[in-house]
Point group: C2
Chain length 198, copies 2
Amino acid sequence: MNFEYLLKQVAFIHEIDKVKYILRKTRLFNSDRNENDAEHSWHLSVMAIILADHANEPVDILKVVKMLLIHDIVEIDAGDIFLYDTVASHTNTAAERTAAARIFGLLPEEQAADLTAVWEEFEAGKSMESKFARAMDRLEPLLQNISNNGGTWKEFDVRYEQVLKKKSVIEHGSSRLWEFASELISKSVKDGILKVSS
Amino acid sequence: MNFEYLLKQVAFIHEIDKVKYILRKTRLFNSDRNENDAEHSWHLSVMAIILADHANEPVDILKVVKMLLIHDIVEIDAGDIFLYDTVASHTNTAAERTAAARIFGLLPEEQAADLTAVWEEFEAGKSMESKFARAMDRLEPLLQNISNNGGTWKEFDVRYEQVLKKKSVIEHGSSRLWEFASELISKSVKDGILKVSS
């Protein structure tokens, strides 16, 4: 029997195993162990299912989960870029587009086109699904840093104003979650785990 | 503002971080590093999306993915049990039910009931969605063991007959994938990475 179609899918399944080796700057909850992209993508996907009702508008939750499951696959080639990196851009670089073409391109043509489109939609951040997915992506490390008494904020001297600016995109996905997150950020300042500039 | 509902959800999001520390016997592809349950759940979820068209009947893919994302959360309390363990049962033990009640019980009532039902459905393995989800759960370690020249089969002296029996449940989810998997198993014997009994 001809397994050509299936073998392309299996090649992709093999390839994405590498996502498990890509370490983020952020650490697990109450931990000094760095989180990897597979763990991160899993956690965001569960969060999206649990928190979906807080989205500003109803979302196609399957699409949100698809986005979150695959959003970091391009980092196999392009690497992880820290949210507060002031030099490298952290979204949709040329390197990421090349990576998407290579990695999604392992799949049968239609599936490659579908996943590429889902990834592009996430990166563009214009649809309600992508806004909500991105809110998850910003919320998880916020919770992690708080659980780690400041975590990467302390480690990389990130200040309140930067956090507020980067995290405020949560509001585009969910005003409710942003209300919650901004309270957590203020409390972090009060608790001395996040510094204000100057 | 009252965040009571949301705080329950966040408590659950915190708690499930522990899934990242639960090590499986199986190792990553071409690797000697054990896979953890979060990585495993992520990988199976992506596989389900990619391979959905091979299911014996059309499946509600969102439900399949929900099952796969949460199916190992009970192992936070109950621990991972090796598929070929001859003493401990590996599905739906009393310890797993107690764990489900505690961990899903962190969520607001309706969500706790929903996730418990999804987990029970996966464990029962009777719906098409659960059959397909379970096929993913059996297929991934098969691919991993082959990439590792026998992997846990060699490590724990697991034989062809046991593998065939345990993996044959793939057929309930997808005859097509079982056809593929059984060819891989036969090839593994021929390649000398899986031994036949006696």
